[in-house]
Structure formats: C-alpha cells, structure tokens
Symmetry: C2
Subunit: 125 residues, 2 copies
C-alpha cells in the first residue's frame, strides 16, 4: 500500500479526469482540458508524462493512441491532500476547519440537511 505521490495543483485537474474516465486517451484528456481550462495541448502532454513518471498514471498503447489509467486511488490522494491541508492551515484541528467552511460559504438547505444526517450517524455510532 504505497502512499500516493505528491500531486501538484495542475496535475490534480488531469487526475480528476483520469479518475472519472478510466482509459481515456491522450486526445480525450487534452480535449476535455482545452475546453474546461483552456490549456495548451503540449502542456497537457507534459503533465501526463510527469504523472506517468511519478507512477500516478499508467498507460497502454491501443494501436496509435495511448490510453491512460490511474495507478493511485482517488480516495487515498484526497485523504493525503486533506490531511496536509488540515495540518498546514488549521494546525490539524478539525472543528475550527469545519466551522470555517460552514461560516464562509453558502450551504443550501439540502446540504445542511445532509450534513446533519451525517453528524447524527456519527453521533450514534
């Protein structure tokens, strides 16, 4: 269970796509990112290569094209990044952090209801 490598800011965007569409081709990834973030194709290729080198992505040649697939688990990367953020910005203590987000950002009534349910489960468990 090797821990995930460090994923940079821009690399996260690429990984998100790879997690949501496993086996995406380079072209698909490039197109998606060109559309949503207006990135240059060459830039995306560089990021793909770096992620392969870091062993965050693997690829398979499928004829002419490369199909990329994640080698690291999204949940684990999210957990690692969350942990690092929590430590860095809130000194590792959870409830000030949650308070910050609840206060600073709008939550729809539905979201509030969901959270209350979550808390209730947590409470009784």
């Amino acid at each position: 269970m090797k821990k995930p490598p460090r994923i940079s800011e821009t690399e996260w965007d690429v990984m998100k796509i790879c997690w949501s569409q496993p086996h995406a081709s380079a072209q698909e990834i490039i197109d998606t990112l060109a559309a949503q973030d207006d990135w240059h194709p060459k830039t995306v290729k560089t990021l793909l290569n770096r992620l392969v080198k870091k062993r965050a992505l693997g690829f398979k040649k499928e004829g002419r094209a490369y199909l990329y697939h994640p080698l690291v688990i999204e949940k684990e990367c999210v957990a690692a990044e969350s942990r690092s953020f929590l430590d860095r910005v809130f000194g590792g203590s959870l409830s000030p952090m949650l308070a910050h987000f609840v206060e600073h950002r709008k939550l729809s009534p539905t979201e509030i209801a969901e959270l209350k349910t979550l808390l209730k489960q947590k409470e009784t468990k």
Copy 2:
C-alpha cells in the same frame, strides 16, 4: 485590499508563529521552530526573508534585533488557501468535502454538538 501572496508549506509554519505572537524577534521565531519542528536557524532566516520579500511580513529594527509582524491577515490567508484546496480536491463543492472530513476523522461528542449548533444557526438565518 490586496490579496495575500502565495504561502508555501513551510512558510505557513512561520506565519502561524508570527500571527500568534506579533512582534516576535527573529530569535524567538527561530527558537520556537527549532523546538517544534527541528529546523535549522539558517533555514528559518531564509523563510523570514522570503516572507518579507513577498510582503507577507514586515519588520522593525529594535536595536540589534529584528521584530517581525504580519502584513497579511490570517483570516484572509486561511480563506484563500481553503478556497484553493476546495477547488482542487473537491471540485469546489462543499458538501462532499465536509462529508469527507466528518467521515474520515474522529469528532468528539462536543465537536459534533458545536457543529450542529453552527448548522442550526446557518439554517435559520
């Protein structure tokens, strides 16, 4: 209201101290960090200089020593960093993020109660 500069991982540790003890001397900061993080004094000095250059810290000569004080507001830095984290890791959507933390990490009954109170306030406002 200039937006805060980007603060790196190690720089956060320094800023935390400067926020909690405004007007700390270089020596105090160095000692604190040497104790808690086992950093080399030279390393801390480098970080202080970089933060001054970034205009995150200012200083005043007080005789032989330098006293550092924050030029950026903790709340704003926390907000910027939180925003960036939320966007990067959770695609900007708050409730999956909150769910992640509530699920992954232990909350004491007290913390749960506090959060419920917060949510209640949010709800009725």
